[in-house]
């Protein structure tokens, strides 16, 4: 118990004294995850919205694959990206391995199925519910997917937040492709794993607290978004549905 108390006290000191090593790791983590989420969302939102509206042969197979990718282990993603970026791999000429770019790419690959699958579900539900009314106005599938995604923007914001949560909390992929190099590719999750194995529990706990705070902040954002949305839509409006339900 004394060890735990000492560890917690030292961790809080590191946080409050703005320990440069700790905060550089936090900043790097946020930077990598924000970029990865942005990259994954720019592709996943478009792809998901499109899949939510169009019908074509093989769509069911594609959706099954997509939903399977939701459970993709992050170390497998790390391994695949490693193989792509290794010197003999197809993207080896980029020289990205063990860099922040490789970590961004790995997290983006990890998060892309999450964004695509949740967006697809959200837009497809909207299409079933009222896509017909947009078709009645002459909206073709592509335009309909854009309009429905826009109409579901608050639910999709939640998808974005969930994707960011998945990105910032993963450890396997960034460890494999980033190498956990101190001052260069070390992020919160890889640092926690390393410091725990080394026995430097205060730094690991301090990073853990920051990570938990980020997750807590994300949940607060979702909550605030839900309340704001309900207020905007009025009491008599449709009940909150989709991802926010």
């Amino acid at each position: 118990m004394t060890t735990f108390t000492d560890t917690a006290t030292t961790a809080l000191q590191l946080l409050t004294e703005l320990d440069p090593q700790l905060w550089s790791i936090v900043a790097r983590s946020l930077w990598v995850s924000v970029l990865a989420t942005g990259l994954a969302c720019s592709l996943g939102l478009v792809l998901g919205a499109w899949l939510g509206v169009v019908r074509f042969a093989g769509r069911d197979v594609l959706l099954t694959v997509l939903n399977t990718l939701l459970a993709l282990p992050s170390v497998v993603v790390g391994l695949l990206v490693y193989l792509l970026l290794s010197r003999t791999g197809p993207l080896g000429y980029l020289g990205w391995l063990f860099s922040l770019k490789a970590m961004v790419l790995a997290q983006a690959v990890l998060v892309l199925p999450v964004v695509t699958a949740l967006t697809r579900q959200c837009v497809e539900d909207a299409e079933h519910s009222h896509g017909e009314q947009l078709r009645s106005l002459g909206a073709r599938p592509w335009l309909r997917s854009v309009l429905l995604a826009w109409d579901e923007r608050y639910a999709l914001l939640t998808v974005l937040i969930a994707a960011f949560g998945r990105a910032i909390s993963e450890v396997g992929a960034v460890m494999v492709v980033g190498g956990n190099i101190e001052g260069f590719t070390r992020v919160m999750t890889t640092a926690i794993a390393l410091e725990t194995s080394k026995g430097d529990l205060p730094l690991a706990l301090a990073l853990g607290l920051v990570l938990m705070s980020v997750v807590l902040l994300l949940n607060a954002c979702i909550s605030g978004l839900r309340r704001w949305r309900q207020r905007m839509d009025g009491a008599g409006a449709d009940s909150v549905r989709g991802v926010l339900a």
Partner: protein, 233 residues
Amino acid sequence: MSAALTLRDVSVQFDTHMALHGVNLQLHAGERVALVGANGSGKSTLLRVAHGLLPVSGGHVSVAAEVHQAMVFQRPHMLRTSVLRFVVWGLWLQGTPWREAHTKAMHALERVGLQDMAERSARTLSGGQQQRLALARAWALQPNFVLLDEPTSSLDPHAKREVERLLTDWVASTQVSLLFSSHNLGQVKRLATRVIYLEAGRVLADLPVDAFFNQPLGDSHPEAHLFLKGELG
């Protein structure tokens, strides 16, 4: 006179269920046709086929080149936008430039008495106001053929009267053709010039409104007779 809308031997099948079965129909400009029948008789399916929202399993649907349709749904979905933009989007989707659409949309809102709510969120409107907004959007599109799927069924009596009044004014001012479904036989009497009775996806009676309500149907159209007897007591 050539027909504005023609359905020739139209069938629609959902899996094993025949929603429409060999429907033959011609609608001419200026007609106001009511579709009546029990739930599941095929009224909504027929409206969707006529509007091109549902493909037919058999037969043929043809719409005259000069016909410009708009449809009003039983429960109009309110886009997450303002009352004004709800109408503007509809116009924009049909090719009206954004600025021109604003002017037309305001005019349409004035027509249904929602101009003071133009900046409000469309989702905060009451059921009756939402249906008036849906009418405003349809009206703004300046169609000459309007399809309405039970436009007042989910409204309270006051909102029902208001929507019906707007429809009556619309018909009187533009001679627009109507094809609408309704369970409200009083409304059918007031609005329609012709009544089509559907049962299990088949057209079993197609009569002028006077004949449908005032002539004995027992021998010529026994199913419609039973329906009317049940509905009117």
